[in-house]
């Protein structure tokens, strides 16, 4: 379903993103397309450092909006922001995830790794215990995947819509009865960064379709 654009429902968002990409907005009356040519490879490099701060692709889009377009930031998980990140991500489909390692970024990576390994919630489970130690086994009837975020934003059949990696992680945290991190919080971006680093070299499939 995901590799055929005519049947991948996420393509409805990609087309919305394409339209938004070309639309002028904000006090600067600028469209994304006024400054950027293609965005090939960009989604494969996020999260990344931006003025010493770690930001994911959605946050980077919002920085462009507030700093360049002089427009209000889009709400995280909003249809518009997901559409833009799907449109940008689609342009990196097939390219290997390419997360830069640096001294400067190391604390963020370490922090994300620690979150991945930390037991949390009433069920007291870490990501590692299931997604590394038990990947391939079945939780109830469902195979446990290796937690490689190669296709975000994804069209999830359970959601019947598009959602970000952070929304998926939020589901997992609710599943172990933990209090989820807030959308856009440093904890979530660091975890996202670690997961993308862990999947480095794997090909992006954005926008993927998952159960």
């Amino acid at each position: 379903m995901q590799n055929d654009d005519a049947t991948n429902p996420a393509m409805l968002w990609v087309l919305d993103g394409e339209a938004l990409w070309g639309r002028r907005t904000g006090a600067a009356d600028k469209a994304c397309a006024d400054c950027h040519q293609g965005m090939q490879g960009v989604a494969a490099r996020y999260p990344a450092l931006h003025s010493e701060k770690l930001v994911n692709l959605d946050q980077r889009i919002n920085l462009c909006r507030t700093e360049q377009q002089k427009a209000p930031a889009l709400q995280l998980e909003s249809r518009e922001l997901l559409a833009l990140s799907a449109y940008i991500g689609r342009q990196s489909r097939g390219l290997p995830i390419d997360i830069a390692e640096s001294e400067q970024a190391k604390p963020f990576l370490d922090s994300g790794r620690a979150a991945f390994n930390r037991r949390q919630g009433q069920l007291n489970l870490s990501c590692t215990q299931c997604h590394v130690g038990l990947a391939g086994n079945k939780l109830a009837g469902n195979p446990i995947p290796q937690a490689h975020p190669t296709g975000y934003p994804i069209y999830r059949l359970e959601w019947q819509g598009l959602g970000s990696l952070q929304r998926r992680l939020r589901n997992c945290m609710i599943g172990v009865r933990a209090e989820p991190y807030a959308y856009g919080s440093p904890e979530f971006v660091e975890l996202e960064y670690y997961l993308m680093w862990r999947a480095r070299g794997m090909k992006l499939e954005t926008p993927a379709v998952r159960p």
Binding site: G141, E158, Q160, C172, Y183, P211
Partner: protein, 149 residues
């Protein structure tokens, strides 16, 4: 952040998830829906092929296809294909109307399957006969549903 779907209690779109007042159709309701189309003419097994995965990980979107053996000529063609689900809230899933200009009697779509059940496809021929097929599907229970805290 409140998304549209988070204010809804159920994590799935079907009414299968033990909702208060959850309801489903019944094999009898399917029989009745079929009789409304056939007018009581018996539907024979054969000529129709209903395709759906035997094991469904998520019932929210299931690829379902139907094809019918027919020359699809003016004199001999399929007029309509109907699909039914006895354990969904409503027995009728989808109906399509075809003719000689279709070339082939087939279609596919994505449907919601509320629970483990036997889906039924019914084809209505230009000669007034009815043919059917059925397929049993098993819906697994999602382990980590997004839910309200």
């Amino acid at each position: 952040m409140i998304t549209r779907r988070e204010f809804v209690v159920l994590a799935c779109a079907t009414a299968s998830c033990a909702a208060p007042g959850a309801l489903h159709a019944t094999p009898a309701a399917v029989d009745e829906a079929i009789r409304a189309i056939t007018g009581g003419t018996p539907a024979r097994r054969g000529r129709v092929k209903l395709d759906a995965p035997a094991l469904i990980e998520n019932g929210n979107s299931v690829v379902l296809g139907v094809s019918v053996e027919s020359p699809m000529t003016q004199a001999d063609h399929v007029k309509a294909i109907h699909v039914f689900a006895p354990m969904n809230p409503l027995p009728n899933m989808v109906s399509v109307y075809l003719g000689p200009r279709s070339g082939r009697a087939q279609f596919s779509t994505r449907v919601r399957v509320a629970d483990t059940q036997t889906l039924v496809a019914l084809a209505q021929m230009s000669d007034g006969s009815f043919w059917s097929d059925q397929v049993s599907v098993v819906v697994t229970i999602a382990a980590c549903l997004e839910e309200l805290k």
